[in-house]
């Protein structure tokens, strides 16, 4: 791992499979990151505290501990957590996100997708909690300060709920926001399971903002988990 410029972004890969570790570290190195490896939960936690990486790519099936238990520990150390797991149950994904994971990618993964999710997670980290007041997603421009949404420069009229949902997604650009989080933030506590509210708002937002509402590129559905506002690619 020599030859990297000092101060390069460091990413820790935690997986017990050597082939996956090799592959991910290779990809990360090609993309200009400094990549570290850990094979189990114990060494991963040690590395988080000693090497202070910027992000962790975490497999859930570790030999010594369930990866889910690590998510809050790494998150509380101020490090971005990206779960990369073969487990594809909705409950696992929601649990990981609720515990503080920045995103969840299922195996087999697309390396470009992993890199895109790392960029989103790191961008979010850089901005800290202060949301960017202005966000551009494709043809759509969202001004969170003025509560204005424009498409191709023309202001789009949104209902308050639609705007609130879009703003909630825009605060975490390109990252998945769970149904429960959106419902509680927009409709208030007690509505966490009224997913049809979200479906209605998402359908209407797509109609107003998407080029092709039946092939959405901006407001993407994360199966059974939540929604994602794509701001790049």
């Amino acid at each position: 791992m020599t030859g990297h410029p000092p101060g390069a972004i460091t990413i820790l890969v935690v997986d017990d499979e050597p082939s996956i570790r090799r592959l991910l570290t290779g990809c990360l190195a090609n993309a200009g990151y400094r990549a570290l490896q850990a094979t189990d939960a114990r060494s991963a936690l040690a590395s988080v505290h000693v090497d202070k990486p910027d992000a962790v790519l975490l497999d859930l099936g570790l030999p010594d501990r369930d990866g889910l238990e690590l998510v809050p520990l790494i998150h509380s150390a101020g490090v971005a957590v990206l779960v990369i797991s073969a487990r594809d149950a909705t409950s696992e994904k929601v649990a990981a996100l609720d515990l503080g994971a920045d995103d969840y990618v299922t195996k087999p993964f697309d390396t470009d997708e992993v890199l895109a999710r790392i960029r989103s997670a790191l961008r979010d980290r850089g901005r800290q909690a202060a949301a960017e007041p202005r966000l551009v997603a494709g043809e759509v421009e969202i001004d969170l300060d003025a509560r204005q949404v424009r498409r191709r420069g023309v202001e789009v009229h949104l209902t308050p709920r639609e705007y609130d949902m879009l703003a909630e997604l825009a605060r975490r650009p390109s990252k998945v926001v769970t149904h429960a989080h959106l419902l509680s933030a927009v409709w208030g506590p007690g509505h966490e399971s009224d997913v049809e509210y979200l479906r209605v708002a998402a359908r209407s937002l797509r109609r107003k903002l998407e080029e092709e509402p039946s092939r959405p590129r901006l407001i993407c559905n994360e199966l059974g988990v939540g929604y994602r506002l794509m701001v790049e690619g």
Partner: protein, 517 residues
């Protein structure tokens, strides 16, 4: 019935409620003795004091007899006392004749007081006996209940019940349970009897009606046994039979309440044991499910890990020529297919295991179709896709994952069997019956008569080998749609240009009023 020496056994008579009208010889003897003493005493008193009337003294033997031995004995003692008084003290003495009418009244009063007081005393005594009797029964039932709680299995319970009740009531007993369709004597005392057709008929009637049957009941009285249902909450767990070897009544009527109390307790114990057995069975099923789940997730992990490495590696290779680029794309396509096969195999295992723990959610079909198309973008590259879904289509209440896998398999199937480069159309309509989502391809379509066969496992229609595949995809569609309460069908397009697969959503799965707020 042969006697069975058993010192622990309480006398059957002691369990019986006291008879109301019975002369107690011992009590009567005591009353006669007392009458004689009182007579002697009266004589002495009369001699000493002259003139004093000894009539009141006779109340003593009457009261003693009545309180000790009951009404009948008391009345007899009263009669004897009044006769003795008449004979020994009322002039003319030593005859049973009475001169003075006033003395007739004296004898009558004595007799009346004897009867009244004896009746009163007898009532008190009867109550005391009843209290003692019911205390004894309570003790007995409590002891029986203690025995019951110590038993944890049905066989042990049957043996204990038959033996205890058999000894207590001095009868032969049998416990009959269900054995599949038929009935079986599970336990008996002194031995498990062989039940004849008539007995079995009575036991069955008792099982089915939940009422007594057999000798001494209203039904099938020719039967040697009297069967009583054992149950709780209206459910008959078993049938209990009693009989006597001597041809007398199976059970004296006054013992029936005791038997019923004992059987009620047995019913509760049987219910408890049945519940415990159910819990144990449930725990076994849970454990099996847990193991299966662990196996599935471990297989899924073991297969996906190398595949992940392969797919990701293929992506990182930079092709040196157009030919290599094509080879890499083909390898990537095959790896993706392999991934779908693995997913299908795991899904099939889940369907077969009945382990589909779906969680329902409001789902927008347009969104679901878009997600499926997104996931299949690699294998659909270069093929036109038409989506005709009304913007105001109601949402459906289904498991989003199961629906996703259904759509993936249906669209993949259309891509496999549709002619290369031809469009695939996804079309949804709502009508009064619900909603129908069609997946239409342009190709050879289905051979006549194969409309249901395509959904069988490993079914691959003739002449379609070129497309490859495990033949699991459509079986999974069928399994998943059924699990979600949806329907699925296959046919050819009305215009004859290809196949038409349709997923139907019944009306009760639609979320009404979900069109727009």
């Amino acid at each position: 019935m042969t006697t069975r020496p058993d010192p622990a056994r309480p006398e059957p008579d002691a369990l019986r409620p006291p008879a109301r009208f019975r002369i107690d010889p011992a009590g009567l003897a005591l009353a006669l003795l007392l009458t004689a003493l009182v007579t002697a005493l009266g004589k002495v008193v009369r001699t000493v004091s002259g003139g004093a009337d000894a009539g009141l003294l006779y109340l003593l033997p009457v009261m003693v007899a009545a309180t000790r031995s009951g009404l009948a004995t008391g009345i007899v003692a009263g009669l004897v006392a009044s006769l003795a008084y008449n004979f020994f003290f009322i002039p003319p003495t030593y005859t049973f004749t009475i001169d003075d009418p006033q003395n007739v009244v004296s004898v009558g009063v004595l007799l009346g007081v004897a009867i009244a007081s004896s009746q009163l005393a007898a009532q008190v005594r009867l109550q005391a006996i009843r209290a003692r009797h019911s205390a004894r029964q309570s003790n007995l039932l409590a002891g029986y209940a203690r025995h019951l709680t110590a038993i944890g299995d049905r066989a042990g319970l049957g043996e204990m019940t038959c033996a205890e009740i058999g000894r207590l009531l001095d009868v032969d007993t049998v416990l009959v349970g269900r054995d599949g369709e038929g009935l079986r004597a599970e336990a008996g005392w002194p031995r498990v009897p062989v039940l004849e057709t008539l007995e079995l008929a009575a036991a069955r009637w008792c099982f089915e009606q939940g009422e007594a049957a057999g000798r001494g009941s209203d039904t099938l009285t020719a039967c040697e046994w009297l069967f009583q249902p054992i149950g709780a909450d209206g459910k008959v767990h078993a049938v209990f039979g009693v009989a006597r070897a001597d041809a007398g009544p199976a059970l004296e009527p006054d013992m029936v309440p005791l038997l019923m109390s004992l059987l009620d307790q047995t019913g509760l114990a049987l219910e408890r044991i049945a519940l415990a057995e159910e819990m144990a069975a449930l725990a076994r099923v849970r454990e099996r499910d847990r193991l299966r789940q662990a196996l599935l997730s471990s297989v899924s992990h073991d297969l996906r890990t190398p595949l992940t490495a392969v797919i990701a590696s293929l992506q990182t290779i930079v092709p040196a020529s157009a030919e290599q680029a094509a080879q890499l794309a083909a390898a990537r396509g095959d790896a993706d297919r392999l991934h779908r096969f693995i997913a299908n195999l795991l899904d099939m295992a889940r369907i077969e295991a009945g382990a589909l723990d779906g969680s329902e959610q409001a789902v927008d079909l347009a969104e679901a179709v878009a997600s499926a198309l997104h996931d299949l973008r690699a294998s659909l590259a270069g093929r036109p896709i038409g989506v005709e879904i009304a913007a105001d289509l109601p949402f459906v209440r289904v498991d989003p994952h199961l629906l996703h896998h259904c759509l993936i398999n249906l669209i993949d199937n259309a891509a496999k069997y549709g002619a290369p480069g031809t469009p695939i159309v996804l079309k949804a309509d709502a009508d009064n019956d619900g909603l129908a989502l069609h997946v239409l391809d342009e190709g050879p379509g289905l051979p006549p008569g194969s409309e249901t066969r395509v959904f069988e496992r490993f079914a691959r229609l003739e002449g379609s080998d070129r497309a490859g595949g495990t033949g699991l995809g459509l079986a999974i569609v069928k399994g998943f749609t059924e699990a979600m309460g949806l329907g699925v069908g296959a046919g050819n397009r009305p215009d004859g240009r290809g196949a038409d697969f349709v997923v139907t959503v019944p009306r009760d799965r639609l979320i009404e009023g979900s069109i727009m707020p």
